[in-house]
């Protein structure tokens, strides 16, 4: 029996699992997808918010501030890309200054450090490409950008390094509450745990309802995004928002930690929790809106589009509490923005709840805080590159031409704890396929490496979900493998034809 079962390996589940791994507890992290970070965590704005948006006094406001301040240290010890670049909320009309003032006052009440209202000239000094219509901005220097899935993957890896068991492709289908334990029925096996933490994101309400009285409902809110080429990655220096509306913070335009440019999201309440479609209207809306914030946004630099679903709930604040009629069952639900920012603080908050449950929390003496550093070949100096190839020649084999990602990095991503098993999971860890050719050149090579390292046939390598197969069967004529054989055959056919 496990001491604690955490359901859902998004940024929240991974943060909580890692926080718990500091103690002598038997922990299991259960995820229905083929990889961690495969839901809302992989499709969001990747922003570490400063904290002026949330209503003072809410959990969102409190945990946003606490979470934000934890990022430098957390990303350093886990070797995750994070940059504190600051944000702007721009006023495109005179009357929007009123909104800026309101946000400013809210920010001051929430304790956001360093925020100020900039006039047009100061704004332009920082953002030379900002629209001519931008009259001023609310500047928040503590806003940051992060690799959200990389953070979740790093948290999961570190949790696994510290003994947390991680079950992928494992969907919780029912939960039974016994006197001192919960029985979790999954598609793979039956799991029993003394306590359960529900971080099931979009499906948190369904998980709650398996064992407790329905008390909240998760409503998916769709956001669509575009990623642009690195050639325009420096179009803006900070995260540029427009004034918020009822539906959210509006369309932003921001650099990513990898040097691309991100635009989006729109905001649309939808019914299905599994609708990850981008739409013509949505993509048009985010592009047109972004083009109002910043000059020189060009459609020809778009390299991909994606949709994320926010797990919104009607309470309008995070739900982090023990279910009223299920002792030892903790809901962590409705974690929409600023959930990513708040994640480290949410984990601590949950830890406190568990401590209050009379759990024997003995700190491990052998807890490994740091993650083994990741080699990012294209970020090394020439000297460092030379040294690493000398040590391991697979770092001299570049697989991804667009981002200069080496075989060594891919092999490492496969063999770490919570290692890559699919094409997309390699992409999320080390980025081949994230560049401008979108995997055109490298995907056959990456599949070959996955097949070799995992000792499976190449046709068994999938994109993401087990049903997302890439290759169907071997070709009819396997001599196609050998091009010289083909040449020979062709020549022979020609020779025969001549004879006839």
């Amino acid at each position: 029996m496990y001491d604690i079962a955490v359901i859902g390996a998004g940024i929240i589940g991974c943060s909580i699992a890692r926080a718990l791994s500091k103690y002598q507890l038997k922990i299991v992290l259960i995820e229905k997808e083929s990889d961690v970070a495969n839901g809302t965590t992989k499709a969001n704005s990747a922003i570490i918010h400063a904290g002026y948006d949330a209503k003072p006094g809410t959990l969102k406001a409190k945990l946003n501030l606490l979470g934000n301040s934890a990022f430098d240290e957390l990303c350093k010890i886990l070797d995750v890309p994070f940059k504190r670049i600051g944000s702007m909320v721009i006023a495109l009309q005179e009357d929007e200054f009123a909104t800026l003032s309101k946000l400013y006052e809210q920010g001051v009440r929430n304790g956001v450090p360093g925020i100020k209202i900039l006039q047009q000239k100061e704004l332009r000094n920082i953002e030379p490409n900002i629209s001519d219509h931008a009259l001023g901005a609310l500047y928040a220097p503590t806003c940051g950008i992060v690799g959200p899935w990389e953070l979740a993957i790093a948290l999961a890896e570190n949790a696994a390094d510290n003994g947390v068991e991680i079950l992928l492709n494992t969907r919780v289908e029912n939960i039974k509450k016994l006197e001192n334990e919960y029985i979790l029925y999954t598609n793979n096996r039956i799991i029993s745990a003394k306590r359960v933490v529900n971080c099931a994101g979009l499906h948190a309400d369904e998980i709650n309802d398996m064992v407790a009285t329905p008390s909240f409902q998760i409503m998916p809110r769709r956001g669509e995004y575009n990623i642009m080429d690195k050639s325009v990655g420096k179009l803006v220096n900070t995260v540029v928002f427009q004034c918020p509306s009822k539906l959210g913070k509006g369309v932003l335009i921001a650099p990513t930690v990898h040097g691309n440019l991100l635009i989006g999201p729109n905001s649309e309440d939808i019914l299905e929790k599994n609708n990850f479609e981008t739409t013509k209207d949505g993509l048009k809306h985010i592009f047109d809106t972004a083009a109002r914030s910043v000059k020189k946004v060009s459609a020809s630099t778009i390299i991909t589009a994606f949709t994320g679903l926010r797990a919104r709930c009607e309470r309008d604040d995070f739900i982090i509490e023990e279910a009223t009629d299920a002792v030892g069952f903790i809901n962590v639900a409705g974690i929409e923005s600023p959930g990513l920012t708040a994640a480290p603080a949410i984990a601590d908050y949950v830890l406190d709840i568990i401590k209050g449950m009379n759990v024997d929390m003995v700190a491990k003496t052998d807890f490994v805080e740091k993650r083994r550093p990741v080699i990012r070949f294209n970020e090394l100096t020439n000297d460092e590159k030379e040294k690493i190839i000398e040590k391991d020649s697979s770092y001299g084999k570049i697989i991804c031409r667009c981002e200069n990602i080496t075989e060594g990095e891919i092999v490492d991503a496969i063999h770490r704890n919570v290692g890559a098993r699919t094409l997309d999971s390699v992409k999320r860890r080390v980025r081949p396929g994230s560049g401008r050719c979108q995997g055109g050149f490298c995907s056959p090579r990456v599949m070959e490496i996955l097949a070799r390292e995992l000792e499976i046939d190449m046709s068994k390598v999938v994109k993401d979900h087990p049903k997302s197969y890439i290759l169907t069967a071997q070709t009819k004529d396997t001599s196609m493998f050998d091009l010289h054989a083909v040449n020979y055959l062709t020549k022979e056919c020609v020779a025969n034809a001549n004879r006839i």
């Binding site: 575009n226 990850f276 479609e277 981008t278 739409t279 013509k280 949505g282 993509l283 459609a299 020809s300 778009i302 390299i303 991909t304 589009a305 294209n378 020439n382 590159k385 030379e386 190839i389 000398e390 020649s393 697979s394 001299g396 084999k397 570049i398 031409r401 667009c402 200069n404 401008r436 050719c437 979108q438 055109g440 050149f441 995907s443 056959p444 190449m458 046709s459 999938v462 994109k463 993401d464 979900h465 087990p466 049903k467 997302s468 197969y469 890439i470 290759l471 169907t472 069967a473 071997q474 070709t475 009819k476 396997t478 196609m480 493998f481 091009l483 010289h484 083909v486 040449n487 062709t490």
Partner: protein, 422 residues
């Protein structure tokens, strides 16, 4: 480790191979050719269909056979080559940084460079087609690699977006491998591929080609389940109410090729926005002295034979440059596209470097029937060339006798499609 060569050729596809051979043949011995792939020949190695070499060798060869001729010659000439070697940086003063497993990080100082990096395929992301992101969507070239090099099929019910040559070739290839190619969907009112490929790859197999149509939505949760196809109006916008759903598990994209000039940009080489390739002279020299370019990195060719011709010119010029025989002057004749012409390569001419002919490659911007191409030097008409048909999918190769240009002191050359009623 820093080493020196007279000429370094980047890329060992049809362009790089022919250029390197020509450098050596013209008396420059210190030449190195590097490629990121595992074998010489570049994309030719996956083009196992025939049709290569018709112009150059008067024979029909497969891609690997065509490559083999040059590879054999390269080896006979004992030209040094490095495979699985990636150039990661190129500077204006011709210092090349490359990596591979054997040498580690290598810095090479070259006196001249030939850029022959080829091109890449446009992706679904670049088209921003809405819908989900399932597996089963490939660029045509990636699918070609899977089928022809790796020996795996990519799907059973196939739709192809775009009628570029690789897409057409793959329509035939997948049909022969037992897949059902349901449709080729082309946004434009004409195909962007070679006519011979339309006939041999689609018509012969009764594969329908839908012109003025596009894909408006991609559907499928895990693997592709289907695509929505719409007719488009003359502004290329989908017409509402014309959507048709096609049930398929595979989508191939053959929607254009983009010259790979990320390295060139690092060396401050000027790029033409029409070709997405370097601006070049008659000698295939870029805006940076001693840096030459040829093949699909300059502009997307329709025939490998033309690539070879262009590459020979680049290789020969690089050799001349090393021997200090290449002339440089400021007031070259500027060549610019006139009405109906999308681009012309080269972009400018120094008549002092011309041998007996000036060779030009151009593409028109739409389809024309029975039209004249008019070549003008300043305001005088130099030549009128009658063409039965001109299509954007086919490169026009125009040769002009050098003396016709040399004898006149001109500053501009234009080529245009003759307008109606002239």
């Amino acid at each position: 480790m820093q080493i020196e060569y007279d000429v370094v050729v980047i890329g060992a596809g049809p362009a790089g191979l022919a250029a390197a051979i020509e450098v050596k043949r013209n008396g420059v011995d210190s030449v190195l050719i590097v490629d990121r792939d595992r074998e010489l020949g570049g994309i030719l190695q996956q083009c196992i269909h025939n049709g290569f070499g018709l112009h150059l060798f008067k024979e029909e060869l497969t891609g690997p056979e065509y490559a083999e001729r040059f590879i054999n010659e390269l080896k006979e000439l004992q030209i040094e080559y490095k495979l699985e070697t990636m150039v990661i940086e190129l500077t204006k003063d011709k210092v090349i940084t490359m990596v591979n497993s054997k040498d580690g990080l290598l810095t090479v100082k070259a006196k001249a460079i030939v850029l022959a990096m080829g091109c890449r395929e446009r992706t679904r992301g670049a088209l921003n087609i809405p819908g989900t992101r399932p597996s089963g969507i490939y660029t045509a070239g990636t699918a070609q690699r899977f089928v022809n090099m790796e020996g795996y099929m990519v799907g059973k019910r196939v739709v192809i977006l775009g009628s570029g040559d690789i897409g057409l070739i793959m329509a035939r290839r997948l049909t022969l491998e037992g897949a059902e190619v349901l449709a080729v969907v082309e946004l434009l009112p004409y195909s962007s591929g070679l006519t011979r490929n339309i006939v041999q790859c689609l018509e012969d197999f009764e594969i329908p080609l839908f012109l003025s149509h596009t894909i408006t939505k991609i559907q499928g949760k895990y693997r592709l389940e289907g695509v929505w196809v719409s007719k488009v109006d003359d502004k290329r916008h989908p017409i509402e109410g014309t959507e048709v759903y096609i049930d398929c598990d595979t989508l191939l994209l053959s929607v254009g090729l983009i010259p790979e000039n990320e390295l060139s940009k690092g060396a401050d080489i000027e790029i033409d926005t029409a070709t997405n390739g370097p601006i070049v002279s008659e000698s295939m020299e870029t805006s940076t002295d001693g840096v030459f370019a040829c093949g699909n990195v300059v502009h997307v060719h329709d025939l490998a034979d033309y690539v070879t011709l262009e590459a020979r010119r680049a290789g020969k010029s690089a050799a001349k440059y090393i021997k200090k025989l290449l002339q440089h002057k400021k007031d070259n004749i500027i060549i610019s596209p006139g009405d109906g012409v999308r681009y012309i390569v080269p972009h400018h001419v120094n008549v002092d470097n011309l041998e007996d002919t000036l060779e030009l490659f151009l593409r028109v911007n739409r389809a024309y029937m029975e039209k004249n191409l008019i070549v003008k030097l300043d305001d005088t008409i130099l030549a009128v060339i009658n063409k039965k048909r001109l299509v954007p999918g086919e490169v026009e190769n125009i040769r002009i006798k050098s003396h016709m240009i040399r004898d006149r002191e001109a500053s501009f050359m234009t080529i245009e499609v003759q307008s109606e009623g002239v």
